[in-house]
Amino acid sequence: MSGSPEDRHTKKRMGLYHVETAGDGRSTLKKRVFSVVVLSIAAMIAVSALILYHFYHSYRDKTYAHLNILVEKHRRDIDSFLKENLGAIRFIAKIFTFDELRDASFLENCLMNLQSHFNNVFVDLGVINARGVQIAYAGPFRLGKALYTEAPWFKKAIQSEYFISDVFMGLRGLPHFIIAVRENHNGHAWILRATIDFVAFNNLVESIQVGETGLAYIVNRGGSLQTKTRADVMKEGEILTILGEMEKGRYGQTYITTISGRGGNKYLYVAALLKDGQWLLIYRQKISDAFREYNHALRVAIAIILLGGVCVVAMGILLTSRVTRQMEKGEREREAMSAQIVESGKLAAVGELAAGIAHEINNPVAIMVEEAGWIEDLLEEEEFRESKSLKEFHRALEQIRTQGRRCKEITHKLLSFARKTDSRIHNVKLNQIIEEVVSVTAQRAKYAKVAIEKNLQEDLPCLRLSSTEMQQVILNLINNAIDAMEPDGGRIMITTRSDQNALVVEVEDNGPGIPEANLARIFEPFFTTKAVGKGTGLGLSICYGIIKKIGGDIEVESHVGKGTTFRIKIPLPVARGSATLSATSDQTSDSDRMNRGV
């Protein structure tokens, strides 16, 4: 089919349009995929971020609360330690007289008792008079008669009832701190001094151990270490800041802050005041250590989110492409359907026109043929028998009859093609339709010496279709087979059977068969191999259209010299409620309708 230049131009334009549409489709697809993926990921990130934010805050609050309690308890322990020791020294100073205590052996005895009761926390004891001279000493160092007049601790201790010093090196050259209690003897002040074992105190302070990096130490208000520690000591400025914040009383007993240390490590600091606010207990832990479980959970969450993100992207691309493909397919089908509707509309209009013309022509043609026949009858009369032109008259009349038949064929086919069939859907019995059509064609088959045989499977389920359309299909196939076998005659075998979810009708003849070159074209409208005037080429295309309309399939198998088989497959209706449809009142009402002549 070459088509006119204009047609070709139109097709070309349509092709170009199609290419542009496909390009637009791809860019639209990309946009849709992008939108879906971005929206999905944005939503996922927003939800994840919200969850992680709340998780972080609750974990941080929990960690802080835990550390607060821990440090507060530790502070109390250390304060109790100091108070207990101070209490013990005060007790000794109170119950024993100056004279008893200045006795070295008595003092030694006291020290031994203290050490045994307080786990060797006390290193030594000394009695110092108001001038700062140690008048008695019990302990491991040789400090008898030592002079403390100028010692800072002495100056402070002589001024107050009791005193606990900061850590200092003192005369012994070792870090230590003392507890001093002032008493009076005959109007002169004297001091009972005890040295606290630095190692024991240090162990007590360091006994707080949380995680891998948690440790504690004590500084005084000037920032000097009061315990030995491996930690970086907080800078004085930072300590002052903490003290300032704590003194505002905003944070209760403890204060928590984070400070960057050396090497970029961030540390969590928890501070608590002890020894009546003179010392600061500082607990330090690496943030990464304190938040170890949180960080682990965070890593898992990020992994899940990333995995989810990958899934979202993949699903987004997959689903969007699928939906878009379906939408495009739907669009194409809609376009095709619209085109088909327009085409059907045109065909219907042409059909109406053709039917009108065919019907109008049919009657005059019938009259002309009959008139020709009448002339032929008259030529049989005696008076015309001798006419010289009798032979020519007969030839002309035969030609009129032939052309009349030709007109009849054409008008009948046109009427078949365009007639308004009853396309209402009923439950119909396939075998019944075949029986009816066979009975109608029996006469013609007899004249054409064609035997029609039937092999119809019994109890076939009903089909949902238009009985008139189905009659048309079977009639066309039988007529074609008869035409093909004229004038020698032959045999037509009509078979029905059920095949899974479909019924199969086979119309098989043992005629001359269809050449392979024609097989592919036999369903095309106006394709015919019959002699001019014998066929319109519409019969099989009508069959094809009807079968395709009901969702069935029609195929042909032919061997030249052996015969042709047309095989129609019609899907069974999907059962609603019951498994198969049986003969219902539809069929009866159809017959009744026919009987009533409606």
């Binding site: 019907h359 049919n362 009657n363 043609v365 019938a366 009259i367 043929v369 009959e370 008139e371 026949g373 009448w374 009858d377 009349g404 038949r405 009849k408 008008t411 009948h412 086919k413 009427l415 078949s416 007639r419 069939t421 009853d422 009816e436 059509v437 009975s439 109608v440 006469q443 008139t468 009659q471 048309q472 009639l475 017959s591 026919m594 009987n595 002549g597």
Partner: protein, 145 residues
């Protein structure tokens, strides 16, 4: 035996006219009517009509309706449907309603003549059977009395 009496019913007057002449030439007695109503009226007056050639498509009372009335009022008369439509439905409908056969218009006069003669034969056989049945009935009655 008297020549068969055939009625041609068609709304096309020239067709009826020519057909009448051609069938008369084939030794048939012909009545004609241009509508279903006229056909029924004439059949009422000529109940010995053997066969009616009836066009399906006619203005007013159409062929199928006329066929029904003929079969109701004159059940022995055989009807051959003549249809301008190549439709199978009208043929099947006519056959179901009791038509003897159908022919597509325009038809071969020989085909029509053959069918008319077959129909006449059927009608005559039918009449013969009725006659014999009546005779048997009369004999039985006579025997009984």
């Amino acid at each position: 035996m008297q020549a068969p009496l055939v009625m041609i019913v068609d709304d096309e007057a020239p067709f009826v006219e020519t057909m009448t002449k051609r069938l008369e030439k084939r030794d048939l007695r012909i009545l004609s009517a241009l509508s279903g109503e006229e056909a029924l009226e004439k059949l009422g007056k000529n109940q010995n009509t053997d066969v009616v050639i009836l066009d399906v498509k006619m203005p007013g009372m159409d062929g199928v309706e006329t066929l029904k009335r003929i079969k109701r009022d004159f059940p022995l008369i055989e009807v051959i449907m003549l249809t301008g439509h190549g439709t199978i439905e009208s043929a099947i409908e006519g056959m179901k309603l009791g038509a003897f056969d159908y022919l597509l218009k325009p038809c071969e006069i020989e085909d029509l003549q053959a069918k008319i003669l077959q129909a006449v034969e059927k009608r005559r056989e039918h009449e013969e059977r009725i006659k014999q049945a009546k005779v048997r009935e009369a004999l039985i009655r006579h025997g009984a009395s």
